[in-house]
C-alpha cells in the first residue's frame, strides 16, 4: 500500500521549497561535471553528471507529487465534502504513484551511479545491469513499503559517505570535508525518514538535514570556482 502523506500540515510546500533548492544544486553539479567530460573526454565525468541529473530529476518528481497531494488536501478542507475529496484523490492516484515511482527510482539510480564511480566499478557492464535491476526491484518494493526505499538509500549512502570520508582523510582539505559532511547528513536524513512512521516531526527534521547537506555540496562547489 502506498503511503503518500508524511508531512505535518504546517510544513506543506516548505518541503517543496527545500527540494527545489536540492534540484538546483544537483543540476549545477551535473552541468559542471558534464563540462568536465566535454573538456577531458573522461567518461567518469559523464556518469557522475548523469547521476546528479538523476537525483535532481528525482527531487523534481517529488515536488510534483507533493504539489498534487497538498493541493488536494487543501481543496478537501475548503470544500469539506469527503465524497468529493475521495473521488478527486482517485483521479490523481495514478499520477501520484507514477511520480513517486520516478522519485524513488531516480534517486536510487543516481546514488548507485555515484557509488559505482567512486568504487571504480562503472566499467563492468554486467555489474551495472545487475545493480540497476536490483534498484528497479527495490523501487517496486517501495511502492508497497516506503521503508524499502529508505533502507536501500541508507545502504548506498553509507558506502558513498565512507568513500568521501576516506577522500577527506587523504586530502584533508575544506572541500573534501564539506562533501563528506554533506553525504553524512544525507545519510542521517534517510535514517530519520525511515522512522517517520513513529513521528511526523522526523520528516521535518530529515528535510532540514537533507537541505543542509545539499547546501554543503553547494559550498564545496562554489569554493572550486573561487580564485
Amino acid at each position: 500500500m502506498l503511503r503518500f502523506l508524511y508531512s505535518p500540515v504546517w510544513f506543506y510546500n516548505i518541503d517543496s521549497i527545500f527540494e527545489f533548492v536540492t534540484v538546483i544544486i544537483a543540476i549545477l553539479v551535473a552541468v559542471y561535471s558534464y563540462k568536465c567530460y566535454k573538456l577531458s573526454g573522461d567518461k567518469k565525468y559523464k556518469w557522475f553528471s548523469m547521476s546528479f541529473a538523476a537525483i535532481g530529476l528525482g527531487f523534481l518528481a517529488k515536488i510534483l507529487t507533493n504539489f498534487t497531494l497538498y493541493h488536494e488536501v487543501v481543496k478537501t478542507k475548503a470544500i469539506g465534502l469527503i465524497i468529493i475529496t475521495s473521488r478527486f484523490i482517485q483521479k490523481d492516484v495514478f499520477f501520484i504513484s507514477t511520480t513517486t515511482f520516478f522519485y524513488h527510482f531516480l534517486i536510487l539510480l543516481g546514488l548507485l551511479g555515484i557509488y559505482l564511480i567512486l568504487y571504480k566499478t562503472f566499467k563492468q557492464k554486467q555489474d551495472i545491469f545487475i545493480l540497476s535491476f536490483l534498484i528497479f526491484i527495490s523501487t517496486i518494493g517501495s511502492h508497497y513499503r516506503y521503508q524499502v526505499f529508505h533502507v536501500t538509500a541508507i545502504v548506498l549512502l553509507f558506502f558513498i559517505f565512507r568513500k568521501f570520508y576516506q577522500n577527506y582523510k587523504k586530502k584533508l582539505t575544506k572541500n573534501t570535508f564539506y562533501v563528506a559532511m554533506a553525504f553524512c547528513l544525507l545519510l542521517i536524513s534517510q535514517i530519520l525518514f525511515l522512522f517517520l512512521g513513529l513521528d511526523v516531526q522526523l520528516y521535518v527534521l530529515g528535510e532540514v538535514i537533507q537541505v543542509v547537506g545539499f547546501v554543503l555540496l553547494l559550498v564545496a562547489y562554489i569554493t572550486i570556482f573561487r580564485k
Partner: protein, 89 residues
C-alpha cells in the same frame, strides 16, 4: 606507482611549461619540460596550434607562445582538477 598521463594531462603540462617561462618557450625546452619525445611533441604541438592555444613565433629563434585560449584552458583545467579532488573522482 605513478599513473600514466592522459592526453589532457600532457596538454596541460605543455601549456604550464610555456606559461612558467613567461608565455614563450623554445621547442627543445618544451620537449624537456613537458617530458615528451620529439615525435610526440610535434604531434601535440600541431593539435595545440590547430586549437589556437599556442602560436609559433618566428624570429632569430623559433619560439612557441601561449595564447588567450591557452590561458583559458589552463584555468578550466585547474577548476576541473579541483572538482576531481573535491569528489575524489
Amino acid at each position: 606507482m605513478t599513473q600514466r598521463r592522459t592526453r589532457i594531462d600532457i596538454i596541460n603540462d605543455m601549456l604550464v611549461s610555456i606559461r612558467n617561462k613567461g608565455g614563450q618557450i623554445k621547442p627543445t625546452h618544451l620537449m624537456y619540460k613537458a617530458n615528451l619525445s620529439h615525435k610526440l611533441l610535434n604531434e601535440y604541438l600541431d593539435d595545440l596550434v590547430k586549437k589556437e592555444m599556442v602560436t609559433k613565433v618566428e624570429g632569430k629563434f623559433r619560439y612557441l607562445a601561449i595564447t588567450e585560449k591557452g590561458y583559458a584552458f589552463l584555468e578550466q583545467f585547474e577548476k576541473m582538477r579541483k572538482f576531481q579532488e573535491t569528489f575524489g573522482l
